[in-house]
Symmetry: C2
Subunit: 285 residues, 2 copies
């Protein structure tokens, strides 16, 4: 499509980080350094990269990054113990457990063990429920990043038909709920969906959250639709066939440089909000 | 439609209550009487009727019904205190707070105060989150009843396009999640949805959960679709125009006698499951 708007996640992320940096400075003036604890279990190279990026992003804004690296052989019990310690550590404001963990670990049990007040990555079922019911908790970062991109570019959501392809607990399901709360009509699709092309082609907003490279085809995209690509596959390849989708879309996120940077900025922002709440508690105490 | 299948909720409910009654008898042999506490605040006649129906249904199965009636002027604090007392009362296995409460009460705060283990009516955000992520908690009773009706009549859900009209925290949102977990493609509609008729007409399964009498029109229903009417408006009128919808549908729930009786049977069933868990805890202690 001529004049397709490129939804530049790096610009949205910079804007968000600027606002977050100002809050960090204010908190540090009060003697509080916002701290994100990251837990990496095992030696998956991609996971190591993600955790390092998140830690570095924290430190660039003057936040503290507490990096915990547990061995590949860690048991569920040991991981739960680590989380319990972080839950009660007043200097830690947010906890991120890098997904995936080695197969011997009950990942869901580990996610659930994170204190809701420190669940800045939005992985607990309680956080999911509060997000879905539109109050309280920190949403999962990627879904929140998608909403932030739509808001930054003043793209209307209300009354639009949003088609989400994917139903994972931290992406497809929560972004469906956030879009619903923003008054979109929401269709959630997945591997059992029949005639996916016909359904995607109805979307005014299409969210690709399926984890398969170039899965969403250009000819599926309605003329003028907004395409949000939350995929991030090996080789920096998105879930949408960018070149072909861009021919039909009115706006589209690139990969890389789309949803990814905003996801990290959201994580930092939510960690700082958690630190601000601590600060408010301290003042009222 | 010739030979439209009437999805008879009274039959499904009787089947469910039969199974529940057997569990009640077993528990009573162990000295445990499953107990549902119902809380009614104020004097709304419909709410009084609903609460009485639920209490009577308990007693018919040999369960205990603890009926708490608080005055119209009850404060949030007083209601929270009542819930806290029931949370710690070992003889109470399930807690139901009848919706709606008088306007001076923070209903969400009251729902959230119910112990997850006793949230047999599925109203807490935590319970919602666990239901949505497909583990653990008791789902809201009406959504669970809808799934039970579909299962009882062996109606396929996987791969079907389900259109849910309504997005309330205890009906539209959770039934969307249950249908999604059962591998339907799910579209959730609401008051801001544009061209609702066109969207409903795509549904292989249509769930009417909007709370407006005869809102869903017969001409919206695809030939052969399944229509589930979760509405219950004054005068025993459903959300779907039954006579007209039945002309197109392959199967439909009546109102009354459709979802309603199964909702109550689900409440009893979930209360007894909660009592069984207590029993298991006692045995292992």
């Amino acid at each position: 499509m001529k004049n397709t708007l490129i939804l530049d996640g790096t610009v949205v992320a910079e804007d968000m980080k600027q606002a977050t940096k100002e809050k960090v400075d204010q908190l540090k003036n009060q003697g509080i350094t916002p701290c994100l604890a990251t837990i990496l279990v095992g030696d998956d190279p991609s996971s190591e990269t993600y955790v390092r990026m998140k830690g570095n992003a924290c430190e660039k804004l003057g936040m503290e990054s507490r990096r915990i690296h547990l061995p590949e052989t860690t048991t569920t019990e040991e991981l739960l113990q680590t989380i319990a310690t972080l839950n009660t550590d007043d200097r830690v404001h947010g906890i991120l457990l890098q997904h995936p963990v080695p197969p011997q670990i009950d990942e869901r049990a580990a996610f659930e063990a994170i204190d809701l007040a420190k669940d800045v990555d939005g992985v607990t079922s309680w956080g999911f429920g509060q997000t879905a019911l539109n109050f309280g908790a920190y949403p999962s970062c990627t879904p929140a990043a998608i909403m932030a991109i739509l808001a930054y570019y003043n793209l209307d959501v209300e009354g639009k038909h949003a088609v989400v392809v994917g139903r994972s607990p931290i992406l497809g399901k929560p972004v469906s709920m956030l879009l619903l709360n923003a008054n979109a009509t929401v269709t959630t699709c997945h591997s059992k969906t029949q005639d996916l092309a016909a359904i995607v082609s109805q979307g005014d907003i299409v969210v690709a959250a399926v984890g398969k490279p170039h899965f969403i085809k250009g000819e599926w995209i309605k003329k003028g639709a907004i395409v949000i690509d939350a995929g991030y596959n090996p080789g920096n390849i998105g879930d949408a066939d960018y070149d072909e989708c861009a021919k039909h879309a009115s706006a589209i996120t690139p990969v890389p440089g789309g949803v990814g940077p905003v996801t990290i900025a959201t994580l930092l922002s939510q960690t700082v909000i958690a630190a601000e709440k601590t600060s408010a508690v301290n003042e009222s105490a």
